[in-house]
């Protein structure tokens, strides 16, 4: 049976069609769901795509977390159904407390928009379950507030539990300050907790050779593979 995935649209979201296209390529029935909706019945998973939800007013994701659909997103997290936040979606999940930490402005106060390299650090997440530890992926990054921060004890806990799923690295897979595009703590590009995962780079923009890289498929396929049959 074709799995159905909800792609949430907030006012200011702008990556929803790319996510739908990428999920289509993977044989998923992806559907746009407006943030005012209050039910995700019939969906096996949910994606919060990138953009500038509510204009990023106050803080990125600060207003979006109170959208009606977020109650359902939190319920999905609670019952272990896959939830994925990409870029602004990651920021929203952090603001909502569904993922630890927060995203602040980049170290160099510059918007970073270019392909970067990521190393898979853990496969115990809905984002990396079908990848292999050590895989190096080339995927575009497109953000100003992409600098992941959290208290030391939170970072340590994430490391211990396999919650650090992706780190920025160089093309050879080495993690260093120079290969860290935004100053993220411990070069963290993606984190996970339970069935929830978030990352700053855009896997949906690297799904076909014509886009320069199809490495994003590995992450999105993991998400798709983590879906269990849709039910209410």
């Amino acid at each position: 049976m074709t799995q159905r995935v909800a792609v949430v649209v907030f006012p200011g979201t702008n990556c929803e069609h790319d996510v739908v296209h990428a999920l289509d390529l993977l044989g998923v029935d992806a559907r746009l769901v407006f943030h005012k909706e209050t039910s995700l019945d019939g969906f096996a998973g949910v994606v919060l795509p990138g953009g500038f939800a509510h204009g990023d007013y106050l803080r990125t994701g600060a207003i979006a977390r109170f959208s009606p659909i977020m109650t359902e997103v939190a319920r999905f997290a609670e019952i272990g159904r896959p939830v994925l936040g990409i870029c602004n979606g990651f920021q929203i999940l952090c603001e909502a407390g569904l993922l630890p930490g927060a995203l602040v402005e980049n170290r160099d106060l510059r918007f970073v928009c270019r392909p970067i390299h990521l190393r898979v650090e853990s496969t115990g997440s809905v984002l990396t379950g079908s990848a292999a530890v050590g895989d190096v992926l080339e995927i575009p990054l497109n953000s100003y507030e992409g600098n992941y921060v959290a208290d030391t004890d939170v970072l340590d806990e994430l490391e211990r539990t396999g919650g650090v799923v992706l780190r920025y690295c160089d093309p050879g897979g080495d993690v260093s300050d120079a290969a860290n595009p935004n100053g993220a703590a411990r070069s963290i590009a993606g984190v996970a907790r339970g069935s929830v995962a978030g990352l700053m780079p855009h896997p949906e923009r690297a799904v076909e050779a014509i886009l320069g890289s199809a490495d994003g498929l590995s992450l999105l396929r993991s998400f798709v593979d983590s879906l269990t049959p849709s039910r209410v």
């Binding site: 803080r59 602040v104 106060l109 921060v149 959290a150 030391t152």
Partner: protein, 82 residues
């Protein structure tokens, strides 16, 4: 009454804007400048005449929306008691 909320980045969390401004000031010769922290100020006009009750409400607003306790501290000041 008028209430002022000042929000700053927690000391343990990186503040790239503050760091850049500090560097800029030192480049201008202000060698006495140590750490600089950027923040935002929110001015609220709140109905009510009990400063304690207003403080409690604004504190709740800060925790729920105005500040992100993961990365920010806040100070609430009642500027103009009713």
């Amino acid at each position: 009454m008028k209430v002022r909320v000042e929000i700053t980045r927690r000391a343990s969390i990186s503040d790239p804007e503050g760091t850049t401004v500090a560097r800029g000031l030192r480049d201008l010769g202000y060698d006495e400048v140590g750490e600089v922290h950027m923040g935002r100020t929110i001015h609220l006009d709140i109905a009510g005449d009990d400063p304690d009750a207003v403080m409690d409400r604004v504190d709740e607003m800060c925790r729920r929306l105005l500040a992100n306790p993961v990365i920010e501290d806040y100070v609430i000041t009642v500027e103009e008691p009713a």
